[in-house]
Symmetry: C2
Subunit: 406 residues, 2 copies
């Protein structure tokens, strides 16, 4: 598989997170000659937060995580790549439960402290024997973040990781995340998995607020193809190994500091997912201002970012701003046609309801030749704004999706 | 331009409609060596109904039609292809008004009885001089339906027309329609124009109800790429040349008969638009049953029909039903995952929350080899149903849209 032209030059150097031990294994569940199982073991004090797909046909692991999340406690997270264990009925539930039980038995834990995620083909049952064998073989807990990020990939062309730090009680708290995703990506959490770890001590309730707010500004603001998966899962684990006094209130200034570090990691991972958008050749930022509400700004931005006509024009480096007008018009949110100000890069395209006098298609096209493209649209009816990130729509997308069984 | 493989074998033989006289002209507004202006003159008694784009950035002709429609009277309709006169500010308004004035002067009519439609590139002003010259040259009112249907094409690969008849007061009323559209097509009226004519006498109010109901079941149930244009317009004209006593009530049984004929024409035209979907190689019917409401059924069907992942799988003739599950899940409407019954053609794929025991991927794939594909999904929570029509997503779509400036 060719690596996306928008990929970062290398996998980042990620520090260890106190208390977190990693393992990967090639269980041959679907892929051969590569690791397809990932596990992280977590210490006794670990609290957990989660955000899941809004799909009404969620996978068995999503059902499982939703069931155990209210306990707020995690001792492990296990993920397999290649099979989503979605729409697999009773057999799928059994595989999920079995996974938790096997890991619990092997490591002396309670099954309902084991978080699960699966990604890959929908509608095929997991080969339970190979799964059990694989899970039991995961005794070497010395895998690297890079190996972990590789083990959870499906159509991803590069491994995704990020880190940040925050000063908590004078010590440096670490936040590290890995993620996968490149297609079936849309707000409301599309085929993507994200596992974020910190060594800070945080109550599960506060952790959930940090994660929910962070996801709203990152994973829920990206779109590749407007499709939403059955399996999307972002989990945030706080091991407490840092030794700080537990953060139990969102008003605690340490919560702000930690939240900012988590935000950095989730946004970086979200951008990496867009950069790995199936067939993507452009990383596109759509910034909408002058909307009535932030939700309206976000919907208009997504209407632009999801429009196949806008995305194909970007692929062709064609400054076809009429399609942006079209996408604003179909968003269903208030916008003043005659006050619309569209910029392609820094080039003002429209004002006062028609093309700007100063507009140069040459300059706009020049901007579109870059790998990173920015569209800014002021809709002229208010003060709210929002930014979303997307990619272009190319032959590569068709190539990948008319072939791969996902 | 290669004709769509899903095109009908030939343009239908369309009868004249009493009172309607047609003209076409090659005004060179954008295209060369083809007619790009279409006009129909209508007798004094003609009533009119219209349905327009829900875009909040409508074109100048849409604004114009919305303004004159409440009068309920039409004496002409004029359409140009190649330039949408959308997002053209004051200049666009002026061009629209000018068009109506020139036609009115030439034929001794009132400008506010002249309906307008434009389709093509957004954001470029119309060349008023060439436009006036073209309109004034349209004195030969003997064009055929086929010539009219050709004159309104943009990226269409074939001309679209349809007819039906209804018995009104013992006489045969005729309904004839022409339409254009192949991309930027989505419910809520995407880049499509439709002009439907009947010789029956019908009050404008009843005509509007016939048209609105008909559009809801036809043009608003098709989708090519989920994009919605600034220019969509469907107009229905009733000349009264048949001589029947005017239909003034929807409860009049003659209204039912005429409505059925209009429904036949609009649905046929809508299907032809899907058959001309940019890059389409499959005509896809998505039938959703067992939903809570018809609106819910329609939204689920559209979620399936708009999903790039479903559409690319269909292009590849890949029975990737997991993507259908995904699309049901993301529709946001109630569905019972464990009662979901998906059929590909006649092949039952899922029941009781997993793949059906009898399922044969070979038989499902066999169905997908056909040009016409049917997906049926029972979501298991109610009695409501809806059908939508769409096409697959292929390299052809990218090819067309990464090039053409629309």
């Amino acid at each position: 598989m060719t690596v996306s032209p928008l990929a970062p030059s290398s996998f980042p150097d990620l520090p260890p997170v106190g208390g977190v031990a990693l393992a990967v294994h090639a269980a041959g569940l679907r892929y051969t000659a590569r690791a397809d199982l990932f596990m992280a073991l977590l210490p006794e004090s670990t609290s957990v937060a989660g955000v899941f797909t809004r799909s009404l046909c969620p996978s068995a692991p999503v059902d499982w995580c939703r069931w155990i999340l209210p306990r707020g406690v995690a001792r492990a997270v296990v993920c397999n790549a290649g099979n989503a264990n979605a729409f697999t009925g009773r057999a799928g539930e059994t595989s999920a439960k079995l996974t938790a039980e096997v890991v619990a038995r092997a490591h002396g834990l309670a099954p309902d402290h084991i978080f699960l995620a699966s990604t890959g083909v929908i509608g095929e049952t997991l080969p339970d024997e190979a799964l059990i064998e694989g899970l039991e073989a995961m005794t070497d807990m010395t895998a690297t973040w890079r190996e972990a990020a590789d083990a959870i990939r499906t159509t991803d062309t590069f491994a995704k990781g990020s880190s940040a730090s925050a000063t908590i009680d004078g010590a440096e708290a670490t936040v590290v995340g890995i993620a996968k995703g490149s297609g079936m990506i849309a707000p409301d959490m599309a085929t993507m998995l994200g596992f974020v770890f910190t060594d800070a001590a945080v109550s599960a309730q506060v952790l959930q607020q940090i994660l929910s707010s962070s996801v709203a500004k990152s994973f829920n603001r990206i779109t590749v193809d407007s499709d939403t998966s059955t399996s999307d899962t972002v989990l945030l684990f706080a091991t407490g190994a840092l030794g700080n006094e537990e953060i139990t209130s969102v008003d605690d200034p340490r919560c702000l500091a930690l939240g900012a570090a988590v935000d950095h990691v989730t946004l970086d991972l979200a951008h990496q997912i867009v950069r790995d958008g199936e067939g993507a050749t452009k990383f596109v930022t759509v910034h909408v201002t002058g909307a009535e509400t932030e939700a309206a700004a976000s919907r208009i931005a997504l209407s632009i970012g999801n429009s196949p006509l806008v995305k194909t024009a970007l692929a062709a480096e064609d400054a076809n701003w009429g399609r942006i007008v079209m996408a604003v018009g179909k968003a269903g949110e208030r916008a003043d046609r005659d006050a619309l100000r569209i910029h392609i890069g820094d080039e003002l395209v429209t004002e006062a309801g028609l093309v700007a006098e100063s507009y140069s298609e040459e300059r706009a096209t020049e901007h579109l030749h870059h790998d990173e493209v920015t569209l800014t649209v002021d809709v002229g009816v208010g003060d709210a704004e929002a930014t979303i990130w997307t990619c272009d729509l190319t032959h590569g997308y068709i190539e990948i999706n008319a072939g791969y069984r996902s």
